[in-house]
Symmetry: C2
Subunit: 206 residues, 2 copies
């Protein structure tokens, strides 16, 4: 609403966008863990305190760069705190609840963009790994050596489900009732999280 005033970054309406652009580049290039508010602030030419003022924590800034308003840290504890044998079902149910909601439009946009754009693909990867999968696997007390494979298998099924339901729109997955998909896909996610992933050593089937 106010005219643009140069030389006064805090009052410059572009400052928020400058910080977001610097954050996108830094998260994509360095990954979430290695990116710091200090580095992002330097890349944007602003004080770190201003980044916190606009965006809050590093997690919040990261979600802002990919335009995702849903906070996995708020949603996941309820999913992960119940019976360990049905966590797969609860995870699929939460996933569908978010993607079927108005917030899902941003998730579909992120998925589309990740396919077209290498940087967005990196941001999506960082989001999956650091904001979703790491939390899930930490709370389920999974063998750290198996954690990356289990996490990326869960991601493959979840992203594939999103692709078929929201992008390619293959029926009947595209318009199935969420609970039908929870029943069908939940056991897959459950096995990827806590089940046997390979045949026992020396025991490959003929």
């Amino acid at each position: 609403m106010s005219p643009r005033r140069s030389g006064r970054r805090p009052g410059n309406p572009d400052t928020r966008e400058v910080i977001l652009a610097a954050a996108r580049t830094t998260f994509a290039e360095r990954g979430f863990d290695a990116a710091s508010i200090r580095v992002i602030a330097a890349a944007a030419g602003v004080d770190p305190a201003l980044v916190h003022h606009y965006f809050g924590t590093k997690e919040q800034l990261f979600r802002a760069t990919i335009d995702i308003s849903v906070d996995p840290a708020e949603l996941l504890p309820a999913v992960l705190s119940g019976d360990r044998d049905t966590v797969g079902e609860r995870l699929v149910r939460m996933f569908l609840t978010v993607w079927d909601s108005p917030a899902g439009a941003a998730a579909v946009a992120l998925l589309r963009s990740a396919v077209a754009n290498e940087w967005t693909a990196r941001l999506l990867r960082e989001f999956l790994v650091t904001q979703v999968l790491r939390r899930v696997l930490d709370q389920l007390a999974i063998d750290p050596a198996e954690l990356p494979l289990r996490g990326s298998l869960v991601a493959s099924q979840m992203i594939g489900l999103a692709m078929m339901r929201y992008v390619v729109r293959l029926e009947p997955v595209a318009s199935a009732a969420p609970e039908a998909l929870v029943a069908a896909v939940g056991p897959t996610v459950q096995r990827y999280l806590t089940g046997e992933l390979a045949d026992p050593p020396g025991g490959r089937r003929a």
Copy 2:
């Protein structure tokens, strides 16, 4: 190489592209089953015999529109003819063999394009349903009522695997040995094809 000659369609170097464009539109709008060589030829303004001359069968023309040189009709019988209890593993193995090969580049391009473009999404959907899933499910003698759900669940896992391995490149799925993925994902596909998809009626777990 030769100069463009208008008014002589058979010798016009653009004829092939005109037919392909008409085929893409027709397959996307009507679906594979309802699209006919006759309709495509009419849309392109050429004789149906010329379409056959350039592209062969309707299946071959369809694969040409999406730039896929691999013919599921040639690959699938070997996958489907063996032990029914391990068809999931064999399907994942064939899928990875194709996508890891030079032909996989076209598949990745199709996947990227399907995400950005509604028409390509329709073509990918038609390819999955009519060229791949229908053949798989026909040969496995699956209850026709369950066929669409089983097929689209298999597609969700396979496309999700392709997304993570070739597009988002999430590790360790991106560089895992094919057999590790066959062991991990094969049982998922097996269950989607031949296993129990929902809890027994009245028997939902608490």
